[in-house]
Symmetry: D3
Subunit: 73 residues, 6 copies
């Protein structure tokens, strides 16, 4: 009966991609620890880029810098 919580930034993951995460995480627990898929929960939290910090900045700023670099590229 595992519980898997996947937190990602909200940047347009589709329902199909999120289903692939659900399937993949469930299969992983089944394969490695023989856990029963019928009682495996997977919950995906999508977090606004303003609300996620890495290296003392938010992801909004990180993404902007990446886009600027690409445009300058």
């Amino acid at each position: 009966m595992p519980y898997v919580n996947i937190r990602i930034t909200r940047e347009g993951a589709t329902a199909e991609q999120k289903l692939a995460l659900i399937e993949g995480a469930t299969d992983l627990l089944s394969r490695v620890l023989n856990k029963n898929p019928a009682t495996t929960f997977v919950i995906i939290d999508e977090v606004e880029t303003d609300n996620w910090g890495l290296n003392r900045e938010n992801i909004t700023t990180l993404r902007k810098r990446e886009a600027d670099k690409k445009a300058a590229g």
Copy 2:
């Protein structure tokens, strides 16, 4: 000072129902462990049905199958 986090799918729980969860969880901790309601936190997270997986599928699909069955009833 307990912390209770209740995660449910976002399927129309009303403010009244959510208050009933808050009251019920607070009372439970008070009754079983004599915890002080004044420092009992209850946080309810409502999760999109696309983002919640059980048995390798998302709850959107599960709900659709349940509705189809009912309609076919």
Copy 3:
């Protein structure tokens, strides 16, 4: 398929008390939102009193002050 996470300080809750929390939380979700107990998870985290802060101090200190007061009482 709710998920309930109860976090309390590790101060000697017995298996019976923890079972009462599991039963009570499951019944609460069933009563208020008609959730199925067969897919209701309840996970209890017991946290060391040094690792839990309230009002800028840890619970170890709070408990010591409460005990001192009682002794002085």
Copy 4:
């Protein structure tokens, strides 16, 4: 590589304030435990006031009572 999750009620925190939380939490882990900012995650969850309970009531009610008091003041 610390992970910091800050949960607050959704009551209008600005991107600037949330960035200040990200910076402050990252600096705190760096200062106290010498943790590397490059692998410090800070995630802020903003929770609806209907979904947050304290002292057996939701924060919507608490805020209304505070506003009423102020108005009566």
Copy 5:
């Protein structure tokens, strides 16, 4: 920069099995959403069987019943 939290019961998962979960979850996020492994966190929480409830009972009881059935088998 995803964060993956896997919660399982503490029932003897080895360091090798836990590493397989870490690798598998990291690869899953990389494959499905092109997330960078260098900033993918995976945290595994092992929870005592007395502290995990499913279907209104704890996993200690569930495991005992399973073992009894097998012995009776």
Copy 6:
């Protein structure tokens, strides 16, 4: 009434250091968002290095590599 959850690897943080985290996080929420320390929770989870993955490996391995490098100095 904020809730702050700090997750770090279990590598010998002292009670004093953990108290500094509690004080610092409480002060941060008070300074940035004017939150009341009396209802600010800070919970620190210390996670075994085998149970924390970054970049597809566990922290046990990362720490060993760091120590080897230092020894090879």
